[in-house]
């Protein structure tokens, strides 16, 4: 397993002008963990995911990927898979074309075979040649997840992955994440959906106004722990 699955966030702050989106956030995690970033809107969850994804530079502090730092760029990005709140898909292209395009960018071998397997996993083998524009939110989300996992990343970042999904799609997504967890990937997800996250996370990190206000590794009772962390 690559060292990118050992992640250290060290004293990371991010300012937008005078506004602090993140303030002195620190934690470490490793392979096989599912980390939940929890907090209200504007808590800094998405900013933190973007900083870890190398899309946003921290104003202060460092992100350490194993022995490497943010500056490593493309090497690190090759091992990161990210599913954003917007799904990073082109609606004018078919599901197969979207996956093929990103597979080429990620320089994976046997692109047609890989894309067919990804469509199978998404349960869309018979809809691969349909345009994304005609898909429901849940179907798009499944394609987007497979797009993020095409290159078999060791660090998986998910921003609100359960938004707009029905129960069956949510269960399928949870299964897929747990399968990746067993494969030794490190998963960091930002979510408001505490019911789904309860029992899924190996660790919860609570953010409020850009600050880390708590962290725990308890398995259940997430809603209550979240409430307590936000009131503290």
């Amino acid at each position: 397993m690559s060292d990118v699955a050992r992640l250290s966030v060290v004293d990371v702050s991010r300012y937008y002008g005078r506004r602090k989106a993140l303030s002195q956030v620190s934690f470490s995690c490793g392979a096989g963990e599912i980390i939940g970033l929890l907090g209200p809107n504007g808590a800094g969850k998405s900013t933190l995911l973007n900083v870890i994804a190398t899309l946003v530079r921290p104003s202060r502090g460092v992100i350490q990927y194993g022995d490497r730092q943010l500056a490593c760029g493309a090497d690190v990005r090759a091992e990161i898979g990210m599913l954003g709140h917007d799904l990073f898909l082109y609606p004018e292209l078919t599901a197969r074309e979207n996956l093929s395009f990103f597979a080429h960018l990620y320089r994976v071998g046997d692109v047609p075979g890989l894309v067919s397997r990804a469509l199978d996993r998404a349960g869309l083998a018979d809809r691969g040649d349909d345009f994304i524009a005609g898909f429901s939110r849940g179907m798009r989300q499944r394609v987007a997840l497979e797009r993020a996992l095409l290159h078999d990343p060791t660090l998986i970042l998910l921003d609100e992955p359960f938004t707009g999904l029905d129960q069956a799609s949510t269960a399928a997504l949870v299964d897929r994440l747990q399968e990746r967890q067993r494969a030794g990937c490190l998963i960091v997800l930002a979510t408001h959906d505490l019911d789904v996250a309860d029992g899924l996370l190996t660790r919860a990190i609570y953010l409020k106004d850009g600050r880390m206000v708590g962290s725990d590794t308890d398995t259940y009772g997430l809603s209550e722990r979240y409430r307590r962390a936000m009131l503290a």
Partner: protein
Amino acid sequence: MIGFFRVAWQVMRKDMTIEIRSREVLLTTLLFAVSVVLIFAFALVREGRAPDDVAAGILWVAISFSGTLAMGRTFERERYNDTLRALMLAPADRPAIYMGKLLGLLLLLMLVEVIVVPLVALLFLAPIFTHPGMLLALLVAGTLGFTAVGTLFAAMLVRVRSRDTMLPILLYPITVPVMIGGVRGTAALFQATPDEPVARFWIGLLLAWDAVFVTLALWTFEPVMTE
């Protein structure tokens, strides 16, 4: 290097596939460019005769204004589903992504020019077939210089709310040398007696500008695209 061009090709091919299906940017850009040429024709052509030396200026006004429109629309697509972020996340060289976007826009503007140049020739009696090779070189070099800067700025401004206002404000002053080169070189070819040495001089200067602009854009794309 092979990886660089492979990524650029993939990005350009993706943009072209989307454009062939939607024809959105090509049709708006072409319609705008044709409208500009027609408005000038209605204003300036009297009894079938246009004033001397206006054709080159009108041609480049049409190219630059419609080009700005195309740049904005192309990146609007990447903004709409946040796909630019997905491109930035890929382990590909980010300058290769810039190159792919640049080549896509260049191809699009060259397609617009295939219609606009003969239209200018028809309405303003511009002799486009006396030195077709030099005219083609001027159009390619001028459009490349303009697009090289425009692609970089359009990408930079994609998350800025006032991007539609900011793009021309940033783009036109910096591309003034390209516009001067394009207009003067094309005007030298459209004269009653074409001045080849002058046209050749401007082609050389445009190519030099292109080298500078493309190099600077490739160099700065990665840092400016990381927030």
